[in-house]
Symmetry: C2
Subunit: 347 residues, 2 copies
Amino acid sequence: MIEKNPAYRRIATEEAFFTADISAGYRRLLDEGKYQDPGFRSLWGFYSSSMSARARFIFEGLHDLGDKRIAHMDAAGIDRQIIALTAPGVQVFDPATASSLAIDANDQLAEACRRYPDRFTGMAAVAPHDPANAVKEMERAVKKLGFRAVIVNSHIQGHYLDEPQFLPVLEAAEALDVPIYLHPNTPPPSMIQPFLEAGLDGAIYGFGVETGLHMLRIIVAGVFDHFPKLQFIIGHTGEALPFWLYRLDYMHAATVRSERYPNVKALKHPVSHYLKNNVYVTNSGVAWQPSIEFCQKVLGVERVMYAMDYPYQYVPEEVAICDAMTIPAADKQAFFEGNARRVFKLS
Amino acid sequence: MIEKNPAYRRIATEEAFFTADISAGYRRLLDEGKYQDPGFRSLWGFYSSSMSARARFIFEGLHDLGDKRIAHMDAAGIDRQIIALTAPGVQVFDPATASSLAIDANDQLAEACRRYPDRFTGMAAVAPHDPANAVKEMERAVKKLGFRAVIVNSHIQGHYLDEPQFLPVLEAAEALDVPIYLHPNTPPPSMIQPFLEAGLDGAIYGFGVETGLHMLRIIVAGVFDHFPKLQFIIGHTGEALPFWLYRLDYMHAATVRSERYPNVKALKHPVSHYLKNNVYVTNSGVAWQPSIEFCQKVLGVERVMYAMDYPYQYVPEEVAICDAMTIPAADKQAFFEGNARRVFKLS
C-alpha cells in the first residue's frame, strides 16, 4: 500500500510521452527502411506493433498527457512528473524534420503543463544534429514555455555530445541554466551487434552501458572544464558510473600518464569530481535501496533524485519500496522532493 | 605501510603472465595486419611498443614468473598469486596455433608453480575456438599440471561462450569441477568504435561492459540451467553486474513476458539467482570499500575474493587500503583468503 500523506511530495523526474506525429514518423522510417539502425528497429519495431500487454500499455501511456496519466499518478502517489519526449526522440529524423517535430512536441507538452500546472513540468525536446535551431528551441522552451531541462536521448545517429558540432547545444544549456537529461537510446550500429543477438540491447543492459559511455565521453573530453556550471542528469542509478568511480579515476590517470591516446588529456580534476559536481542521477527503473544508497554515499545525497520511468515501468509497489527505504528522513525528502525542486526550479 | 602479519593470508586471484612466443605472435599479427581487430591493435599495439613507464613495467612484469615477481609479492604482502595467461590469451590466433601456444604457456606456468609451490597456482589457458583440443588441454592442465581454473579472455574473435560451438568447453569445466575466470578483452570490432574514438575501449570502461555483456549472455542463454554446478569468476567487482541486479531481474522478466526476442526465454530462476550461485567476483583493480562491500551485501560474503591484477595494477598501497576496510574480521578473512582456498582447492 502506498502512504497517502508521506512527509514529502513525490516528484518523478524521468517520465515519458510521445506525439502522434512522431509515432507516425517512426512507423514511416521503419516501413521505408532507409534509416539503417538495428537498435531503432529492435525498439520501435517492437513497441509500435507488438500486441503484448506490456507493449500496448506503454504505447498507449506514451500518447496520453491527460486524465489517464493523472489517474495513474494519483494511484501511485506521484505529485508531479517531469516529462520528456521518449527515446529516441526526434534524433532519428533528418535535421529539418527533427527540429520541426521537436517544436510541435514541445508545444503539445507545454499545453499539457498549462492544463495541469501542479502536476506536470516539461523538458525540452531538441534536434542536436541541427544545432542552431536546437539552441533557438531551447531558448523558446525555457523562456517562453517554462520548461526546466533539455532531453537528449543518448547517441545522435551514432554521434556523441562531446563532438564539436554539438558545442552550441552545451553552451546554451549552461547559459540558460538548465540541466540536460541524458536519457538512454539503443546502442548505435557501430556497437549493437553482440547485444542485439542476445536480446540485451534494450533496457536490460544495452541502454545503460551506451548512456554510461556517452556520459563518460563527455567527461573525458573535458566538456566540464569548458563549461564548469553545466549539469547533466542520468537515470538508472547513474547507469552504473557511480559503481565504477574508483576504477574510472585510477584508469583515467594511468591512461593520461601513459600517453596511449592523443585525445585523452589530463583534466582539471579526477573523473569522479565531474560525477559529483556536474551530474545528477535518478533511480528510474531501480527501486532498490542498495544502488540508491550507494549513489547517495559516493556522489552525495543532494545528487540523487527519484524517478519512476512512466509508462515503461509503472509499478506502484515500487513507490512503496522506495518509501520504505531505511535511510535518514532528510535524505528521503531530498531524494523524493528536495533535490528535484532545486534542480528543476519548482516553487 | 602493509601489515606484515595480518589475521589472514592474502591470495591474489587475477594475476597475469605472458610467454615470449605469444608476445612474438602478437607482434607478428600486428605487423602482418591480417588479423583485423581494432581493440587488439589498441591494446597490444600500445603495450608491445610504448616506451611509457607504465607500459614497460607491465610488459616486463608479464614475462617474469621468477624472483622479481616474488619480490613484488613480498613487498606488497601477497602470499599467493592465482596466475593466468594475460588477455587476449591465445584467442586471437588460428585454432591450431592457439591450441599449441596454450599447451606451451601451460607448461611454462606449471614449471613456475613447481618452483614456487607455496606462492603460485595456475589457471589453464585454452583455445575455446578449437573446442575438442580445448577440452583435452583442460583435462591435462587440471589432472596432470594441478591447475585449478580455466581462463577465458572474454570474446573469442567476436564470439561468446553462450554460442553452441563452445558447449564442450562449458561441459568440461563443470565435469572437472573448475571455475572459468572470464577475464576482460577489448570490445570486438562489432562493438568497439564509439569506445575507441574516445579512448574508452580499455580497462577504464570497454573491458568492463564487454565482459559484463559476455557474462549476461551466458546467463540469459540458460547455460546455468543446463550446467547448474558450473562456476564463473569475473573481476573488477563483478564488472558492475551486482550493481545492476534489480534492473536485470525486472527487465529480463519483462522481456520474457513481452515475447520481444524469440531467443529470450524464461529461465528457471531470476538473473540474480545465477549471479549469486554460479558467479564469483573479485575486486581486481578496485581497491574501494564501497564497491567491495556492495558485492558482499548483494551476492553474499562467500562470493567475493581479493585480486590485485598484477602487473597491470601493482599498487602496494591498495593492499593496505583493503586491509583497512571497516568490515567484520570474518568477512575480511573470507575476502582475502577463505573464499580463494575453497574455490581454488588450496590446502
